[in-house]
Amino acid sequence: MNNRIANAKRSYITRNVDLAVATSISQGVPSSGDLILARVDRIRHHTRLENEAGRREHLYPGDEIVVAAADRYATGQFHARVPAALGGCHLVAAGGIAAEVTQRNRGIKAATEITALGLLCDKQGAVVNLKQFAPLNELQPKSVDLTSLPTLLVMGSDMNSGKTTLACAAANGFRQAGYRVSATKLTGTGAGPDYWRMKDAGADRVVDFLDAGYASTVGMTPPQLVDILQRFKADALQQGSDILIVEVADGVLQPENRALLQSGAFLDEVSAALIAADGAIAATMTAQTVLHAGISVLGVGGLISKSPLSCDEARNSLGLPILELDDFHRMETRDYLLGSLFGAENYAAANSS
């Protein structure tokens, strides 16, 4: 490996990458997923870079870092595009995404400024891209009967509505009930916290779009996302998982999510959904949107569950179960969710044997 690359701080986004293949740095126009050697110029919003093991390493001006070019769509942070050229750009996610910010949430600082110094290349001079390090691409995507692998979608009203917390609570509850769980993140921008939290929750297997070779899913079409989901399923079956949990980033109004909810191919891959929301209005609209799309909603949780009054409002408005985190450890909640996912007969038969 090139010494300069070896000495650089390595980001989470490279967790599947064998950096030994990167022998040189070249100039060129970055594409999504291309690995970039960058220099930190000015520390702003992101003060730390998450490494491939999950530790958040403090950044200092002058640090060299290995990141990937990708878009980002995050209502709470940045809207950013793959840099049009090497040179000045931004670190837009602690997981290691280099992009040019086009919009910023005014509640946060400007993005940390970096300079993209060059593209990582292999000994043949080809640019190293995350697609070359995608373990899920070795699997054949397949549509799986939902009774063989119930697939629980976790959808939210927006960024930071509590989706990952809800997905992890479900994963932990099912795990404690004796089920093997694959927890996955289908869309978003590569960042470790959700990945590690799913592991911490006890999921037997955790994969995300990074494992399919994507640093970000911004701008992807439903067929592309269904292809990733089917790879998650193939992986889950190979791992012997009983249940697949699929978290989708951002809210139901996010462009890719809107397209997903209008895609028959995607809807066919989902058994039911849990809704994460930060308030009663958000819960109501999100649940109604998901129901309208044709997906059964088993319950509502997320940030809303911290506010008893908001829960009452949502309960009155929707009449659907409002799930607090503790509920996933109650047998009746697990029975309700698992019975809904597997079908009452199958669930009862499994429990009696």
Partner: protein
Amino acid sequence: MQKVNELLPPPGEVQKVVFPAISGLPFWLYQPRKIRNMQRILVVVHGISRDAEEQLDCYRTMADELGCWLVAPQFKSKAFPRYQQLCAGSGQPRADIALNSFLALWRGMHGQPYLKIWLAGYSGGAQFAHRYALHHPQQVAAMILGSAGWYSFPDQQVKYPRGISRSVALNSVRLEEMLNIPMLVTVGDEDNLRDNSLKTSESLDQQQGDNRLQRALNWCESIRQLQQAKTYKPVQFKLLIGQGHNFYKNMQQGGMASLVLQFLLQSEGNNNEQNTNPVDQYSDNSYLRVSN
């Protein structure tokens, strides 16, 4: 992919609809010839024969008179074996949640966040209706219980479904809110047979009475006592003269249809027009700002 709104019948017509998000529960829907009240829908629930169409046939005229949509869910035996009790046990499908999913969907489709239902059930449907109202009183504007076989009595010491002590599979009941719902109970004066379709046991008979007539009287009395203590309007009880246990005859010959219509109009304060325009309903001069 067909849009959900395209599944609905045109005015004056009936359509059986399976909403993809609630695939286990088909609905028979009737759109009145002229919609005058979008803040209410009339939900009518079949008995153990699970004949939703019969419910729809008997309530169609009333839906036209009320100017509201008529909805008859069909709780099929395989999907909802004990829909009368909302749920057959832990891990079993929830009939109440299925109906609530429909209501959430409907509110979103029609932009009616404050919509409540008029809920009418006959026999097993009346069992469903009052147990649904016990768990989801906020969804119900008024309730009609016709000739239920047996009831959940408002007794915290008795386990659900005979009483209201918490069921493992369901949330706790909201009795006080349920007591505030306008309620009409009907039963035929000849509905006093202990036929095969009537659930009987020594303890049930002792708690509720020997037949539907006695059980309806006893349940109404227990509810009425609690309502009086709260100064709520008491449940209405109407005896259908010369009637046995037959929904169609009760409605057509026993006067149940006109009783129900009168009760629903009364429950809204004979003021349906008020409901046709929520803006008017909430207009108040104190909120108006007038220049100069």
